[in-house]
Amino acid sequence: MRLESHPIVDFKRGKEVTIYFNGQPVKAYEGETIAAALYAAGVRVFSRSFRFHRPRGFFCAIGKCSQCMMEVDGVPNIRTCKVYVRDGMQIRTQNAKPDAENDYFAIIDKLIDRFFPHGSHYKKFNSPRLLREFMTKQMRKMAGFGNVPRNVPDVNTEYEVMEADVAVIGGGPGGLSAAIHAAKYGAKVVLLDENNYLGGQLIKQTHRFFGSGRHKAGTRGIRIAEILEEELMQYDNVDIRKETKVFGIYGMDVAGVQNNSKLLRVKARKIVIATGAYERTLIFENNDLPGVYGAGGVQTLMNVFGIKPGNKGLIVGSGNVGLILTYQLLQAGVDVAAIVEAMPRIGGYFVHAAKVRRLGVPIYTRHTIVKAFGEKKVEGAVIAQLDERWNVVEGSEREIECDFICVAVGLSPAHELLYHVGAEMKFVPELGGMVPLRTRFNETSVKGVYVAGDVAGIEEATAAIMEGRIAGIHSAITLGYGGDEAKKELDEAVKDLEEFRAGPFGERIVCGLEKCVLESEVML
């Protein structure tokens, strides 16, 4: 399952180590996440669903969906896609007997609704008290989230307080660009990211980017991440904290946890939120079967860890993400059975579609996935044609042979922190969901709090970089840095972005943005 060679990426695997999965030794390499190592070893069932004990695999591979939670070294509910392997690690699946793969409780999936309709457990077994206590205990064993650790975990904890002119949350293209441009004019910047690398989504994008040459188009996403990181490293007024998860913003204090052991409090004068997005899923029969993955999850597995997701995939969605992913799968030597698209037209760029079409991948527009099938993992899928009113055309169903399915139906902004600061939000479908109102300089309704990148509206890396530039410069200027030179660059940056969005693909975004402009005294 591990790729030895790849046309674009050289996989640098660390030292070989052994981890234990439900007691069995599994070979892994340092630098791999637990989830990646288990996947490479053939594990597909990562957990069982809470109530029905249906098998669940990984989905997002970036710590957002919680389907990969296991007990690691005695600590329950660890997202195994976010934790790196260590020699001798003990990993166990939770709330399944004897383990998630062969869970006896799976029988519940077939029976439970007949005997215990939803919510009925609140009414059943309430008396006598002894029965209630016994049953509560049993139900928690079956449906809880792991077992509470017996001992207090043996870790040293620290607390650090720091001050910053600009705190940037998220080290993807949006955050990196914001940090670079604030630092460039002299602001003291702290950049926080929960990964142990910078670059966000870019680090799994092996293809050359679109956009203008001035903004690094024609360059591979993975290299853009390197270029931005190098640019940022030039400035010594930047403090980069990797493996630091921000869990809240209190007033202008940003709170995070570094390396699972240090509590961090950043007293910031300005904050840029650049936390990116979540992958969406789609409703169809058995969409929770292991083997149904988010497109980004598959990219992570394949392009970051060099692990094949399977032998033959079905791609749902023909936006750029679905099209590019198809091409990347072919590059990794994985077959793609088809791309299905519910709209009458391909959603992404024609040139991306042409790339995979000429390599023999059929693209079925006006088609959808009806169901996935398989016992404990995907063994195939059924697709069907849609009529004008989005109903399945009777008799058009056909089976597709595949062992995994990638859902590439778009992203939604990762906006928790925006709610935390109390930014005014609005539902704007063109931008992918709930997004903050903002000024043309990307400042939200909360003064001093900016947004950049996908969290402000789903777009693309070039736009994220441009927005980061605007937010970074504006925050520096309003703190008194940069002078006329900065103001000039800010004007230029705003103009560049307007021009970038001027085409038909930008129309949607511009239309969405019009719905969430915040008119305030933004003049400098």
């Binding site: 679109f210 390599l359 970038f500 969005r501 001027a502 038909p504 693909f505």
Partner: protein, 159 residues
């Protein structure tokens, strides 16, 4: 925009072809299959001979076949794999295209030829191959084909 329903261009949707004399002249000439307005411009920015016209980043590129020298600068960077170099010499056709698969190709390799739809339409021989490391792992390769196929062959695979 029918091509967006299928993912490939039909004959009547192709941009205007370079004049026959130009295709058969000393140097190969570029042919770009990028009809849709998208915010993309590296081809335009990389051309030192002013052969690609694009007033706005969202305009599709338009080639001035007289100005194009066949230098391949645009071919190196196009993220859409949408640029091809075509040439007819001594009665044989040549297509140069981007290639990003393993195994890498070398001069003399026999390859299978595919058209825009992915149909297998014959075999060809690689006559020139830029080493992948010379272009951040996008190989440029020239394949010799029947001269009537230079506007048909759009992908090659080894084996």
């Amino acid at each position: 925009m029918k091509y967006l329903e299928r993912g490939y261009l039909e004959k009547d949707e192709l941009p205007s072809l370079p004049p026959a004399e130009r295709i058969e002249s000393k140097k190969p000439v570029v042919y770009i299959e990028c009809p849709q307005p998208i915010p993309c411009s590296p081809c335009y920015e990389s051309c030192r001979f002013d052969a690609i016209k694009m007033d706005n980043i969202n305009d599709p590129p338009e080639v001035d076949y007289e100005k194009c020298t066949g230098c391949m600068a645009c071919l190196r960077v196009c993220p859409g794999l949408a640029i091809f170099l075509v040439h007819i010499k001594d009665g044989k056709g040549y297509v140069t295209l981007q290639y990003e698969f393993l195994p890498w190709l070398e001069k003399g390799d026999k390859v299978r030829l595919y058209n825009r739809k992915g149909d297998h339409i014959g075999e060809g021989v690689i006559t020139w191959a830029l080493k992948p490391e010379r272009n951040d792992r996008t190989q440029l390769v020239t394949v010799e084909v029947d001269k009537d196929l230079i506007f048909e062959v759009r992908a090659v695979r080894k084996g």
